[in-house]
Structures are given as structure tokens and as C-alpha cells.
């Protein structure tokens, strides 16, 4: 009888015991390219990094560095950063975390032959050394204020990562709240809670991530209950309906990115600041935000992003003003002398090509601007093509007006240093301003946050006055989830780190 009971319990109760595992089912638009944080380049890889690894620091929702694997840090000189590490942390494979792992992670990151796509953020680091088991020292070539913001890279275990080599990206080992159980590429990622997690085992047992490329289908999967959580990109036109229905939680914030028009100042038409200002007056950011993005992306003003420490509204803004734009164009010598509706100067018509990559919302923006600009006598054409060819053209300077975006701007330096210095690597439009050059160099040297804030405010004033960029939108970040998910903290980087402390109360 006892055997029968035991068998009964085994057969009938065991599945129930298994069924109690709490699984968070999340959807992503693209699969992670790699799970090696040093090689991460897409947002999905960053999301996996949030779950599998810890960095020295983590950026809180205000984008301020907080201790993670680092307990504390101190600049002992302008070019020396000493970081004290947490003790008693272990990797998923049971190996203890030490200073050697930090040295290894950052040494490979800056190694020319390693191939990290984000290497340029770390090149001011000359060397990293272990002072003792729980202290590391970063030696810099020159003062580099933004460094702390970039020390959130996941730390990889020295021995395992070096012995696995290129295969480490498929077999990640970190110290994070979850470890990788299986990865069916292009389809599903299964992560399980890390029992040894230093900051306490997560309340949920498992995260099952499905890769669903189509934005509408991913939303349908959430609505039909096949998923618990999805985030940007989501179709903006559905947000209002979802809010009204109230069945899902809709959370929205500004992300760390902006969408802008890149004006090629090497183009003779666009080299005149009055023409650039006229274009800014003709680009109705409010309408674009409301009509094309349904308020998901907000009207932009500069590279200083709302909800960050460095935000400032002390910049030049350009309201939609057709008359003012026409005055500026006339003052620049562009008038419609032959009465064909298009302004001209010295026999040359005012023709500009607006270009962007294949993306329905971006294409809508350009088509909207084409019509608006035509009212002021500008003959604008629109060309939309695929990303690799497009970005190649932009980098080579083969464009008039390009619609692009910058992402992951965790520091104002990252939004400006390469973009606006006259010899900056991403200054595609050949913008040159000696004062901006000086300020941007200074922004890297000054370590006091208030001092830096003042510097970048000055840069923003220069840039919004001279307009190498027309800042159209602050990008929005949206997370949608089931009511049962509690404790999720919205993060402007789209970080999933707070999954370590969420619960599912179905």
C-alpha cells in the first residue's frame, strides 16, 4: 500500500511540483549576436549581458554609476583609477571572482586583435593591473572623465574565457543573476536562476526569451498570453489602444538616444548656416512626434537628454515658422527667380536629397518633411535604402541630409566627441568649430560632474546655434507586460537587470 501511495505521489504530484517553476516569458526582436559582453554590439546582446554578468559598476535609471562588482573606486591621480572589488563572488562555474578576471576582461577589450566593436570607448586605457586579489588599477594615457560610465561591461572569468576562445560567446559564464541553460539560435534562449548569486537568488526560476522579429506579431503574442513581457520596438500606433484596454501594463520613458537630421556642411547649399536654420524652422518636431510616433518619441532639442543629470533646456530651439524660414532662405540668396515654385541662386535650383535606411517610421518622417520643405520652395527628394549601403554612404560623406539616430548615450561625451570635433571619426558632415573642439577636449579632462555639465551645456548652445544636426526626437523606450509581473523597474537603457528582483503572481 505504501508503495502504491509513493507511486501515486510520484506520478501525480511530481508534475505539479515541476509546474510550480516560475517562468518569465519575454520576447525580443532580434537574437543576441553573442553572449560575450566584450563583443556585444546589438541591444539583445546587452540585455543578455544584464542577466548573465555583472560589471564593475551598473548604471541606475538616472544613468549614474552604482557599485556592482566594484565596492568603491577612486581617482588617485588624473590618470589612475583604483577600484576595490567585492569579495566572495563566484562565477556560474564555481570559480571565485578576482582582480585577474577584471584585468583579463579589459585587457582583451582593448586588444587590437580581439575585435571588440566598442573598443574605441576604452582606448584611453593604457593598461589594467591587479594590485591584489581584490584591487585593480586602470592606468590611463590621458585624463578621461567618461570612463566610469563605461565600466558596466560584464566581467568574464579569466580561465574559462581564455580556454574557450571564440566559443565563449556561445557558452557564457558570468556572475549574474541568471545563467544560460540553452540557446537555440534565432529562436529561444533559456536562462535559469543562479542559486549562488551574490545579491540573492532571483524570485523567478527561469526566463524564457523568444525571438520574434515582427513587431506586430510580438505584440499579438503578448496579448494572446503566450508572452509576459516585451519592450521596444513596439508599433507606436497600438499604444493608445493598449492603454485604453488596460489589460497590460504600459510603461514609457525617454531612452538614451535621439533621432536627428545630419546636414552635410560640405554641401555648398548647406554650408550656409541660414539655410540650416531655415530647415530647422521647417521641420515640425511636434507634429512628427504626435502623428508619426503617437507621442512615444518626444520632440527633441539637443543632445542633452531629458531625465539625465546633464539635461539642460538652455539651448536654441526652432519652432515651426514658415515665414521665418522663407526670410532666412531669401537672406541667403535663395529666391524663386523663374517662378517655377522652386527657389534658385546663380541658376542653381534649391535641391536637396533626404536619405535614410529602410524603416517605416523614418520613411514617414522624410516624406512629411519633403512636403513641408516644398512649401518654402525647396525641391526635396526622398531616398530610402538598406542599412549597410546607406551607412557606407553617410560615412563617406555622400549625402545631403541624412536621417539617423544615436543610441546608448550613457555620457554626453559619447553623443559629441566623435560627432562634432572637426577631426571626429563620426563627423560625416565636416562640421568645424574651434570653440566646440576646445570644449569637447576639456569635457574629457574635467572630472567634476558640475563642471562637465557646464561644458556640455556650452557645446549644446554652440551646436543648436550652428545646426550641423537638427535634433528631431528624443527616442522613447516602452515596456509592455502582464499585470502579474511585479517589481520591474523601467530603465532608459532598456536594461533587464531588474528581472533579478521581479516576481510573477499569477
Amino acid at each position: 500500500m505504501r508503495h502504491t501511495l509513493a507511486l501515486f505521489a510520484l506520478v501525480f504530484l511530481f508534475p505539479f511540483a515541476l509546474g510550480q517553476e516560475t517562468v518569465l516569458r519575454a520576447g525580443l526582436d532580434v537574437d543576441a549576436g553573442t553572449m560575450d559582453p566584450r563583443l556585444a554590439r546589438d541591444t539583445s546582446a546587452e540585455r543578455m549581458q544584464d542577466l548573465i554578468y555583472n560589471g564593475l559598476i551598473r548604471l541606475d535609471p538616472q544613468v549614474v554609476p552604482q557599485p556592482d562588482l566594484a565596492l568603491s573606486w577612486e581617482f588617485t591621480s588624473d590618470t589612475t583609477l583604483v577600484v576595490n572589488l567585492r569579495s566572495g563572488v563566484v562565477f556560474h562555474n564555481g570559480q571565485p571572482f578576482t582582480a585577474e578576471d577584471v584585468v583579463y576582461t579589459y585587457t582583451t577589450l582593448i586588444d587590437e586583435n580581439f575585435g571588440s566593436p566598442r573598443r574605441s570607448l576604452y582606448t584611453p586605457i593604457n593598461s589594467v593591473e591587479a594590485v591584489d586579489d581584490l584591487t585593480v588599477q586602470f592606468n590611463l594615457a590621458h585624463p578621461y572623465a567618461p570612463l566610469l560610465q563605461y565600466l558596466d561591461k560584464g566581467i568574464v572569468p579569466h580561465e574559462a574565457a581564455s580556454s574557450l576562445g571564440a566559443d565563449f560567446g556561445d557558452n557564457p559564464i558570468g556572475t549574474g543573476p541568471f545563467s544560460l541553460e540553452s540557446w537555440e539560435k534565432g529562436n529561444r534562449i533559456e536562462l535559469v536562476a543562479n542559486d549562488q548569486y551574490h545579491f540573492g537568488r532571483p524570485a523567478i526560476d527561469r526566463i524564457s526569451v523568444s525571438v520574434i522579429p515582427d513587431n506586430n506579431v510580438r505584440l499579438l503574442a503578448l496579448e494572446s498570453g503566450d508572452l509576459d513581457f516585451i519592450h521596444s520596438p513596439v508599433p507606436p500606433q497600438d499604444l493608445e489602444r493598449l492603454r485604453a484596454e488596460g489589460e497590460l501594463v504600459v510603461e514609457q520613458t525617454t531612452a538614451l538616444g535621439y533621432t536627428y537630421l545630419n546636414l552635410n556642411t560640405a554641401n555648398p547649399i548647406l554650408s550656409d548656416v541660414r539655410v540650416r536654420q531655415a530647415l530647422a524652422h521647417l521641420s515640425d518636431r511636434d507634429t512628427i512626434s504626435e502623428v508619426i510616433f503617437f507621442g512615444m518619441d518626444q520632440p527633441g532639442a539637443s543632445f542633452l537628454l531629458p531625465n539625465t543629470f546633464y539635461f539642460s533646456d538652455q539651448v536654441t530651439t526652432y519652432d515651426y515658422d514658415l515665414e521665418r524660414a522663407e526670410e532666412l532662405l531669401t537672406a541667403a540668396g535663395w529666391v524663386d527667380s523663374d517662378g517655377d515654385g522652386v527657389r534658385d541662386k546663380d541658376g542653381q535650383p534649391l535641391q536637396l536629397e533626404l536619405t535614410t535606411n529602410i524603416d517605416p517610421n523614418r520613411q514617414q518622417i522624410l516624406e512629411f518633411l519633403q512636403g513641408e520643405w516644398a512649401q518654402a520652395g525647396i525641391d526635396a527628394s526622398v531616398r530610402v535604402y538598406e542599412w549597410p549601403s546607406y551607412i557606407g554612404d553617410v560615412i563617406a560623406g555622400n549625402y545631403d541630409v541624412g536621417l539617423i539616430g544615436w543610441l546608448l548615450l550613457t555620457d554626453p561625451d559619447r553623443a559629441t566627441f566623435l560627432q562634432f570635433r572637426s577631426d571626429g571619426g563620426s563627423n560625416y558632415g565636416s562640421y568645424a568649430n574651434a570653440e566646440v573642439d576646445r570644449l569637447l577636449n576639456e569635457g574629457r579632462l574635467v572630472t567634476d560632474p558640475e563642471g562637465r555639465k557646464a561644458i556640455y551645456e556650452q557645446v549644446a548652445q554652440q551646436i543648436t546655434g550652428e545646426l550641423p544636426y537638427i535634433f528631431l526626437l528624443y527616442q522613447g523606450y516602452v515596456a509592455l507586460h502582464d499585470q502579474a509581473l511585479e517589481g520591474y523597474v523601467l530603465h532608459p537603457l532598456g536594461s533587464w537587470r531588474s528581472f533579478e528582483s521581479v516576481s510573477l503572481n499569477r
Partner: protein, 327 residues
């Protein structure tokens, strides 16, 4: 027949080599390169040069081709630039998903289109015929992505009969697991996941094949030997099923075989809508990132698969019509 098959197999070598040459050089002719995409707009010239060198893309084209060919002959198709994994494992991981979808779609095509076309032919110019024609017209004119999303809306969101996305588990693995203690429930689960994508994929083919069967049957039904069969007093069912159908089948098999090639490489839209981890999506993503090794490797695999199916189709002619002989 064996000799013919062997000769055809030998022909695979120049076919695959030709495909490889075309793919290798055309992907490099297209504007945009992997280093630029990898680094994005933030990349500096120095970074791009470094990555290009690390990828070996700074060497002269003939040298790159030589190295690639030499490695490919040894079964090494390189590593994906963006996914890190070896191209061989990427392709072999995706192949079952694509084959599953293509075979199920072929199955649905045949079981739906053949009867539909036959009925339409036998009852030509009746309401049934018009109905079948209308269905076929819908099939060719409804865009896949629209039909797919509509199917999810109806069957997953409203009726809650079928899952909305994904391959969970795969049909092949689930069937394979039956031999080692797997459960029928898994196979059922796999079929539930595969049903909407394969129906979506098959929809166009069903329309095409049904129309073809109808016209081919109508043609055969008007031939002399069918009249003879009828005048012998054979039952109409025998005339249609045995005499006419067999002969009407030849062009249909050709088209169905060709459809298989389309299904193998052209399932991209279906795979994207239903988040199906197949080869089509892998190739299209690779193209949009300029992931040269993945494009090359997968196109070669697809070329081989299509060649094999074409060979099988040719061989099946002889089975269906004994008058056709290969030697």
C-alpha cells in the same frame, strides 16, 4: 537509371562551384561591408581598418577566394562575423526547421490542391469549380504577411486554438524522441506550432497547383484514350482516378518539385511572421548585415538541397510514366 543518377550527381560539382563563385563575388560587389555594419555609425576609420584586417577582407579577392575554397573543401565554411558560431553549425541547426516547414507545406499543398483541382476539372463550370477557382485566386493574390498575421489574429488571439509563434519543440526532434521514450504530446505540440506557418507557406502553392491540376486534367480528359476507356464502359471513377489522373500528374510533379526550391529559400516572410528559426531568415539577416561567410555557406547548402530535389523529381517521372527511361 543508376548510371543516370550518378551522372547527375557528378554534375552537382560544377553547379555548386558555379553557385559558390557567383555568391562569393557578388556579395563583395554590393556596396556596404561587414566592418562598417559591425561597428555602426560610431566606428572610426581606424576601427574599420582593424576589423577588416581581422576578418581577412583586406587581402586581394583571388587570395580570399582561394582560402575560402580550400577551407570549404575540408568542410570548414568559416565563422559568422556577427553570430560568432561556425557557419556549418548555424546552417545545420536551421536546416531541420526549414525542411520541416517545407515538407509540411508540400504535404498540405498536395492533399489540398490535388483533390481540389481534380474536382474542379471533373465538375468543370459548376459551382464547385467556381468555388475552387475563387479559392485559388485568393491564394495567389493574398499577400503572405497579411494572411499570416490574419491567421494569428483569428486562431491565436480570438479563438485561442493555436500558439501564436515559434517552433517548440521541432517536429523532427519530437518524432525522433518517440524512439527514446518521448511522448506523443510533444509531437502534437510541435504540429500545433507548425500548422499556421506551413498553411501560410502552402497557401500560394495550393492555389497554383490546384489550377494546374485542373487544366492538366481537363486536357487529359479530352484525349482519345480517355474516350476509349469510357466507351469500354469503365466506371467514371476508374477513368478519372486511374487513367486520366496519372497522366495529368507529370506537369504537376514538375511544378511541385520546383515549389520545393522556392519553399526552401523563399520561406523568409513566413519564418519572420511566425518567428520560425529557419534558413531563410538566417540568409536574409546575413545579407542585411553583409555576413559574407553565412551568405556563402547557406546559399551553397540551399543549392545542393534544390539540386537533390530536382534529381528526385526527374527520377520520379520514370516511376509514374514507364515510357520515360533514363540510361
Amino acid at each position: 537509371m543508376l548510371q543516370y543518377a550518378l551522372r547527375r550527381l557528378l554534375l552537382f560539382v560544377p553547379v555548386v562551384f558555379g553557385v559558390l563563385c557567383i555568391v562569393f563575388f557578388t556579395v563583395r560587389l554590393v556596396p556596404g561591408d561587414p566592418a562598417t555594419v559591425l561597428l555602426g555609425p560610431e566606428g572610426t576609420d581606424e576601427d574599420r581598418a582593424r576589423i577588416t584586417r581581422l576578418l581577412g577582407l583586406d587581402r586581394p579577392l583571388p587570395v580570399q577566394f582561394g582560402i575560402y575554397l580550400w577551407n570549404a573543401l575540408q568542410g570548414d565554411f568559416g565563422r559568422s562575423i556577427f553570430l560568432g558560431s561556425s557557419v556549418r553549425s548555424l546552417v545545420l541547426d536551421r536546416l531541420p526547421a526549414t525542411l520541416e516547414l517545407a515538407l509540411l507545406a508540400m504535404f498540405l499543398t498536395v492533399v489540398i490542391a490535388l483533390p481540389l483541382g481534380m474536382i474542379a476539372a471533373v465538375r468543370s463550370n459548376t459551382l464547385i469549380d467556381y468555388g475552387a477557382t475563387l479559392l485559388a485566386l485568393l491564394g495567389v493574390s493574398m499577400p503572405l504577411f497579411w494572411f499570416g498575421v490574419l491567421a494569428i489574429l483569428v486562431f491565436s488571439l480570438r479563438l485561442e486554438w493555436l500558439p501564436s509563434f515559434g517552433r517548440d519543440p521541432g517536429l523532427f526532434p519530437a518524432v525522433g524522441a518517440l524512439f527514446s521514450g518521448g511522448s506523443l504530446a510533444d509531437v502534437w505540440q510541435a504540429l500545433r506550432h507548425a500548422f499556421l506557418p506551413s498553411l501560410t507557406l502552402a497557401f500560394g502553392a495550393i492555389a497554383l497547383v490546384a489550377r494546374l491540376v485542373r487544366s492538366s486534367m481537363l486536357e487529359v480528359l479530352n484525349l482519345d484514350y480517355v474516350r476509349t476507356a469510357r466507351s469500354k464502359g469503365l466506371a467514371e471513377r476508374l477513368v478519372v482516378n486511374k487513367h486520366a489522373f496519372r497522366n495529368a500528374l507529370l506537369p504537376v510533379i514538375t511544378v511541385v518539385g520546383l515549389q520545393f526550391g522556392t519553399l526552401m529559400g523563399g520561406a523568409v516572410i513566413t519564418e519572420t511572421i511566425f518567428a520560425w528559426p529557419g534558413l531563410g531568415r538566417l540568409v536574409v539577416n546575413a545579407i542585411s548585415q553583409r555576413d559574407f561567410p553565412v551568405i556563402q555557406g547557406s546559399v551553397v547548402f540551399i543549392a545542393v538541397a534544390v539540386s537533390v530535389v530536382n534529381l528526385l523529381v526527374d527520377l520520379s517521372y520514370a516511376v509514374i510514366n514507364p515510357k520515360i527511361r533514363y540510361g
